[in-house]
Symmetry: C2
Subunit: 141 residues, 2 copies
DNA sequence: TGAAATTAGTTACCTAGTTAACTACATATG
DNA sequence: CATATGTAGTTAACTAGGTAACTAATTTCA
């Protein structure tokens, strides 16, 4: 049973992203783009490396996502004290896209989780966090 | 809290795949390759479309993975009655890689799940299955 | 039986993640 | 101060997922 869990977990996460991407296309966004907008919104102007740390996604991935968001005029860089840094902000269009995305994600997750009890959700979240933590620890060895 | 769950879930699934891929490199395999070998092992000679259905991964993705496995001489196609089909089998090398991968995956998952109680694991699995099911149903609308 | 619809698989092109190797700037230390 | 080390970000090349549009073989059914 334990073995099957991980397979199911991965399958769910793919299905989840697929479905959410479909919803988010309404706002002209992909899920990964929305996540980055979310990070920027929370602590703009934010250097790229902080987004990478927060999302636990490697820098080149974030770099590429930011590049596309810049092309779509959703974000822009402002100069910082440290010349290596590129501190990123939302544009006005970016703020709008973020808000739209936020609403879509919120409704989607709410609807999806509706039938799960609070208690089960908590147990499940704790299990996931615990597994995630274990992975981090293993990494060191 | 519910909102955070999905984020954590996705982060875990990325971390999980990353760590497992690292382990599997010992056997010269990627996780997705191992999954496909697993399907083939269970019901060879198996047409590509059945792997796609079982793993719930689109056909072009499976097609590409099979192509690489063929290049590595881990699998081969045998002719079937239906001329559209390509029924896939493991080669002897493929059987070996599968066995190696199987052991690595088993040990990895066992170690990872070690500290989670049976009860919590069951709750978590049921939650995931329930969410997965809900996604499938939504899809129809 | 012949035309239409379905199915298996592929190709091309997109997003999203990874690692490895690099540049340019900043900081620490001899 | 000069050098070494560390850090922010990029580039290139890979795996892994997706959709859309296609070919060729098979079924359906009028």
């Amino acid at each position: 049973m334990k073995v099957n869990f991980f397979h199911q977990q991965l399958q769910f996460s793919r299905a989840f992203k697929k479905a959410l991407n479909k919803q988010l296309s309404e706002a002209g966004l992909f899920h990964s783009q929305w996540l980055v907008l979310y990070c920027i919104k929370k602590q703009q102007p934010v250097p790229l490396v902080e987004i990478s740390n927060y999302l636990d996604v490697e820098k080149p991935t974030i770099s590429r996502t930011i590049k596309r968001l810049e092309e779509q005029k959703l974000v822009e860089a402002v100069p910082g004290a440290d010349k290596r840094e590129r501190r990123i902000c939302l544009t006005e269009t970016g703020e709008n896209s973020y808000e739209k995305g936020q609403e879509i994600v919120f409704q989607f997750e709410k609807k999806l989780a509706a039938e799960i009890s609070e208690a089960d959700m908590e147990t499940t979240l704790n299990t996931i966090l615990s597994l995630k933590n274990k992975l981090k620890k293993e990494e060191i060895n």
